[in-house]
């Protein structure tokens, strides 16, 4: 039951309670981010040398591309989203995290699931279902792990001392509901009793869109709504606008992503187009809300690194949103091209990833009880990430538009046209920079944990931490 209790535990106590699962999740998230970026680089290298790794059936281009996306979405996205959810819910509910050990177990399960998915993809077990082609046995483990963490988070929220529901709380709870919903639907309709024919396509489109636009969107926006007012020290402009954005994204998110001309019944395309146009409402709500908050106390005045990350995330979100709203007109030209890949990356890395790294930058020192050793390194990794993102997205979109032009032109199309190929080659530099940034953040994280954590933990936690560190590739 919800107790009206004004003696909420101090933030430090709350942080201490969720330290193990959250650090485990963040560490794994950063490790997966690095893995995903590295796999992405290995995949893109094929466009320089098409015969790269061609003699190894395990490492076909398709396997590398699938593994990179799965590692990014479930490895990085999943771990980071759940880590933020656990920490932020505990803080917002003014409550020590319930069952932290269960959550830690869930985190471990989740990582086992992602590992199984990535290994399975290399072994050729992918389901062939576009954005969610991870093997179904991995989905089972992910469900179990996610369920354990959701139980811990849900219980924390249910027994909270602070009865107020904050804006970020809705978003996090929304994310917690979406995740199992999508996973169960995927498992049932793409695994157990596979939907027939093109129904698979609409299920996949729904699942991909729900995972990226809704789930990651919810957690990313929760971070933005949490950190911007907190660091600027002024309240969010409007609760009503946030509510509009929240419900708008929940309702419309799943509809998005069907392209014009898809071989599905026409009403599905119409509905998706309609939802895309309506998406302008939540987009405007998010934009205006943050815009007004920031006008009260400008972003620029603050040199806080978390805010810088969150700012980039906000801009990325707006760009992706504009692209989403224009889908009905653009998808004729951009679907099937590199531009969609770039926009997807802008959403997952540019928006969610940047918001998450900002959050990690804020949260981890509070969990460890010591500040980052090398703020300068992090500042550089921020610059690398932003430049890398620009260097990736701009040429890819440009190349994608050129590719669409050739694809929709009258001539022959047997290959990527040179403009697209060159765009992809420039984008490769961007990928390398993003990989560098992720390695730097991971390195800083590992250093912080290894140097500072052992003072403040009891022996059991040290053991757990050592295990976590080993999983993160540490040498302890």
């Amino acid at each position: 039951m919800i107790k009206e209790n004004n003696s909420a535990p101090a933030p430090a106590v709350i942080d201490a309670a969720c330290r193990v699962p959250v650090l485990l999740l963040f560490g794994s998230a950063l490790l997966w981010l690095m893995t995903a970026s590295a796999l992405g680089v290995l995949a893109s290298f094929n466009f320089h040398v098409p015969s790269f790794l061609a003699d190894f059936p395990l490492f076909t281009y398709g396997h590398r591309a699938s593994a990179a996306w799965t590692a990014m979405l479930f490895g990085f996205g999943g771990n980071a989203a759940l880590g933020i959810t656990l920490w932020m819910l505990a803080r917002l509910c003014g409550m020590e995290l319930k069952w932290p050990n269960v959550a830690a177990l869930g985190a471990a399960m989740w990582n086992i699931g992602v590992t199984a998915a990535v290994v399975g993809l290399f072994m050729g077990d992918g389901t062939g279902q576009g954005g969610v082609d991870l093997p179904m046995y991995a989905v089972r483990i992910l469900l179990l792990g996610g369920g354990l963490m959701a139980a811990s988070a849900g219980l924390t929220c249910y027994t909270r001392s602070d009865s107020e529901l904050y804006i970020s709380t809705w978003h996090l709870v929304g994310g917690l509901v979406v995740l199992p919903w999508v996973l169960v639907t995927m498992y049932l309709l793409l695994g157990v009793d596979t939907a027939r024919g093109v129904a698979q396509y609409s299920v996949v489109t729904w699942a991909t869109s729900s995972l990226t636009q809704v789930w990651l969107g919810m957690v990313g926006l929760a971070s933005i709504y949490y950190f911007v007012p907190k660091i600027l020290g002024c309240p969010l402009y409007s609760r009503q606008l946030a509510q509009l954005g929240f419900y708008g994204i929940l309702v419309l998110g799943g509809f998005l992503g069907v392209h014009v001309g898809a071989p599905v019944p026409a009403w599905i395309i119409r509905l998706s187009d309609f939802a895309a146009v309506l998406f302008v409402l939540p987009l405007l709500a998010v934009w205006w809300n943050i815009q007004r908050t920031v006008t009260i106390r400008p972003f620029a005045k603050s040199c806080d690194l978390t805010l810088a990350f969150v700012g980039v995330a906000w801009w990325s979100y707006l760009l992706v949103g504009v692209f989403t709203v224009l889908q009905p007109w653009l998808s004729v030209h951009t679907h099937f091209t590199l531009a969609t890949v770039a926009i997807r990356h802008l959403l997952v890395f540019g928006f969610f990833g940047m918001a998450t790294i900002g959050a990690i930058h804020f949260i981890v020192p509070r969990l460890v009880g010591a500040d980052w050793d090398c703020q300068k390194c992090l500042r550089w990794s921020f610059r690398f990430a932003v430049v890398g993102l620009l260097l990736y997205v701009v040429p890819m979109v440009y190349g994608g538009v050129a590719q669409g032009g050739v694809m929709n032109g009258g001539g022959e199309y047997s290959n990527l046209p040179p403009t697209a190929l060159n765009g992809m080659r420039v984008a490769f530099l961007g990928e390398l920079l993003m990989l560098l940034a992720s390695v730097m953040v991971l390195f800083n994280f590992a250093r912080l944990i290894l140097t500072h954590c052992c003072d403040c933990c009891n022996p059991i936690e040290i053991l757990k931490m050592a295990r976590a560190a080993r999983e993160k590739g540490g040498v302890e």
């Binding site: 050729g124 729900s210 071989p263 022959e412």
Partner: protein, 377 residues
Amino acid sequence: MNRTPETLAGILVALVLSWYAMVWTPASQQKDLLPYVDGETVYPRDRSGLAKQGAEVYRANGCYHCHSQQVRQGEVEYHLLLTRTGNNSEALIGALKDNDLMFVDSNGTEKKVDEAKIELSLFLNSDDLNATTKNPDKPEIQKARELLDQLKDEESREDVFLLAALAQEKDKAIARKFLGLPQTMKGEKSQRASIELAGSLTWDEAKSKLQALKNANASAMLEPRKANSDNVQAALWSDVDKGWGLRRSVARDYLFDMPAMLGDQRIGPDLAHIGERRSDAAWHYRHLYKPREIHEKSVMPPYTFLFNKRMLKEGEALGADAVTDNNGKSIEPGYEVTPKPFAHALVAYLLSLRQPDVVPEAPAPKQMATRPEKKTK
């Protein structure tokens, strides 16, 4: 404010909406979709065992990352063709008039001939046909003879006969005699004549006009053609123009695809109709083994692990299933390259990818400027 129940309920309702529309409804709709059966034609059929294994190879190697399997198509316009006039002269001419189809303003000579054809075939269906021998001076018959004078060539008269679509053998004989045609039809003329009543109709216009003609006991058909519009959808025609398919892909094409690998990238060309476009298995083996043998700048990785490679002995001839280049020589000089069972299956799958023009929901548009694929070396 504690609004937990309301918030949770709101979240659930919000999520149910898109789930219901994008997951539940399509899944239950597709469950009821059946293959199209028309006489001997059954489409689609399940793949053969080997092709099914090939689909697994296609999936397991992630081919769907670079190739889509869906043909898009832009807007079509409909041309209304009259195929049978029926026997209700008054109703048909009234319907044609009311729908601005014919008998309104007969300026064009072409149209006059068509009107004559319609009137004549209506005449053949009327009771007056029997009177042609008994009572040749009837005014209706005089008028029919005048109309017949307009149709000089035999082909037009044959059209009249076909449009009338008489059922009784006795009537047919009288009609052919009246039209001055030999009793048996000459040559291989199609058993269906049609008169174009209107072109460039939208679906709604075409539908109402078609219904009006049906109500007048006549038969008509709609022929879809590429619309000359320059809106958003115009670009969608490129797939059909490139010859990637005969028509747009529809849900029915994927009934037996498990999984349906529609693909979301086109690093390479679309494969929905590749089995028809490239029906030569040897070409596929060559392409899989060494894509750059076909397209100089191909970015497709060579799938050499699907093949066995063996050094040839001095003077040894190539085996029958060896992969060759364009000139019939071994693709690897000095070696014999033969496909493994995986490659056999994959090629069988690729050859099974066909979307023929048989489904009624997407008839292949006529008058397409199909461009033959550029000759590659």
